[in-house]
Symmetry: C2
């Protein structure tokens, strides 16, 4: 099996946000996709060791923020390579509360989601969530390959798409 | 809620293949993603009305074929806008059997997968599957936005990402 083939799956680059007992927190993610159109439902995979995972379970909701090609690259590292357990990831990050969830301003779309089901899949939890609010603005969504090829970004060890030699 | 925001999620373009009692069949898909790295596991969403859905359930395995930007566009329509119930979708399509599954030749990567779990999510089944074989070749993976913007492709009504005005 050639694990490098996994680099040929296509993804976006997202910041998943939620509440940690009244404090906004979140993490960078790429494994998110729509699974049904009626009702509009998303699946999102988050490592069980990510602090955001337990916060989503406590809160029962999350927002999926879609980064654009012009989004500030430091958001990806700030939300991706530190733990919200020890850090205020929202320090200096502009956001507002929309439909009850913290939504970062530097996105080209967002989805506010209510968790309907969870599936524990070993190292990761798959959240199935209904979209309860969504909107978009100008901007071209950043793809995962754009992040690697143009932004020259790295992949966090807790990502489903992490490969040791990445 | 602005449903058009859903267009800002990023995907690849895939042909999912499996066996229909010894005959190869399959369908076009875009909602596929890696959910864990160890073991390497994929999630794939397929409409319950797609004939391929019941064939995957019977077979217990599928192959995810990643189309490249230079893959023949007629593959997408041929596998996407007809039913394998009535049609031999592999008529004229070059493929070979790899690790027990029919894998089309015109791809830039493939994953042979064994279904480990299924989740019925209303209109769609989410298959969770372990990758048992994978390989890649030259070629840039086709993204869903490339398909819409460059190939000028349409979305099938059974796709999770279908929007009525798409």
């Amino acid at each position: 099996m050639n694990s490098n083939a996994l680099r040929n799956l296509s993804y976006g680059v997202y910041i998943v946000t939620t509440w940690d007992k009244g404090r906004p927190t979140g993490c960078t993610a790429n494994s998110a996709m729509q699974i049904t159109s009626t009702p509009a439902t998303l699946a999102l995979s988050i490592n069980v060791d990510n602090y955001t995972n337990s916060c989503i379970k406590d809160c029962g909701h999350f927002a999926l923020n879609v980064l654009s090609e012009t989004s500030e690259p430091s958001l990806i590292g700030g939300f991706g390579f530190m733990s919200g357990r020890d850090t205020d990831k929202f320090d200096g990050v502009e956001y507002k509360t929309i439909s009850g969830l913290p939504v970062i301003s530097d996105n080209c779309a967002y989805f506010v989601c209510k968790v309907k089901d969870t599936l524990e899949a070993g190292t990761h939890t798959v959240f199935l969530a209904e979209i309860i609010d969504a909107d978009m603005s100008a901007g071209r969504p950043m793809t995962y390959s754009y992040y690697h090829e143009v932004v020259k970004g790295k992949t966090a060890k807790n990502a489903p798409t992490y490969l040791p030699d990445a």
